[in-house]
Homo-oligomer: 153 residues x 2
DNA sequence: CGCATTTATATCGCGCGCGATAAATATTTA
DNA sequence: TAAATATTTATCGCGCGCGATATAAATGCG
């Protein structure tokens, strides 16, 4: 029995944490997306934002932020950059002047076609590394459970 | 069978992605750590860096970056901030002048004591949300597999 | 030895991510 | 209706995270 430490700090070791693997995996996945997104000229958070809009073409800033579990002050400048790239348009709500409606432009809508092959490429890359689709599905479901539990914090 | 879309873009839906849950979970976990780390006056990446040094008191910038799967240009300024807080010290390597040795100070070493209760509090909070320790362990192991596969990209 | 190459760290610029705060509009309530 | 409150978005500052680049020290090689 090793007693190098007066107290037992094993629970503070990086390898025993859940937080670090999630954090590291997130960055590694974003890195894997990078070359594909570079080809489209967008960043990973911008890609996620477009995915939201590809499902529903017009949404408020708040609704997008809620879907992505982000604060509005994070996506406000992001949406302005997407607007500068002519991928979305911004307009004040008619019924409620406080709301800002974000809509896909034709260009933003067209980008879905270019992006549609990306997930397949990523999954194929992971399969080459020995990660089966069923394993990824399992992981996804467990993460959804974790998010469900944590989003209510 | 719904055919609202000419092509099938289901694989581009947020809920069908693995990338988004990992990304969201990472941020939610960091948010959960926030109040505990605020009490110590450090950020989440700084906390991870200290965890590495709590396991091995002196390491080079490169070794720390490698452990955290980060680039050195990310942690160089981070380490300078830790130095400004008197939590670590920086000194050039004797054998190799290019290397910068990062060492824990007494203050940095002492902070482990204050931090040691954090993981327990977090796990307890998750248990209250219905997430069992065995589920978290399972998730951690799966993430390690994913990281193993992706780190070689 | 002299010079090219590699390695280790640092610098710079940009886009998040978020706490704190502000400003404008809408809603509630006295 | 007038004032207080709430909602929605925007602004600001700071710390990452990383690609591109720079600088200095070490290594390799003719």
């Amino acid at each position: 029995m090793k007693t190098l430490d007066p107290a037992n700090y094993d629970h503070l070791k990086l390898e025993n944490q859940l937080c670090f693997p999630v954090y590291a995996a997130s960055r590694l996945i974003i890195r894997a997306y990078q070359p594909h997104l570079d080809a489209l000229g967008i960043t990973y958070p911008q890609y996620l934002t477009l995915m939201v809009l590809w499902e529903e073409e017009t949404m408020t800033v708040n609704e997008i932020a809620h879907k992505l579990l982000l604060n509005t002050n994070t996506i406000t400048p992001l949406l302005k950059r997407l607007e500068a790239m002519k991928l979305v348009s911004r307009s004040r709500g008619i019924d409620d002047e406080r709301k800002v409606m974000i809509s896909l432009t034709d260009k933003g809508r067209a980008m879905r076609e270019d992006a549609s092959s990306i997930p397949f490429k990523l999954v194929a890359g992971l399969e080459d590394k020995g990660l089966t689709p069923s394993m990824l599905l399992n992981l996804k479901q467990q993460l959804h459970q974790l998010i469900e539990g944590m989003a209510s914090f």
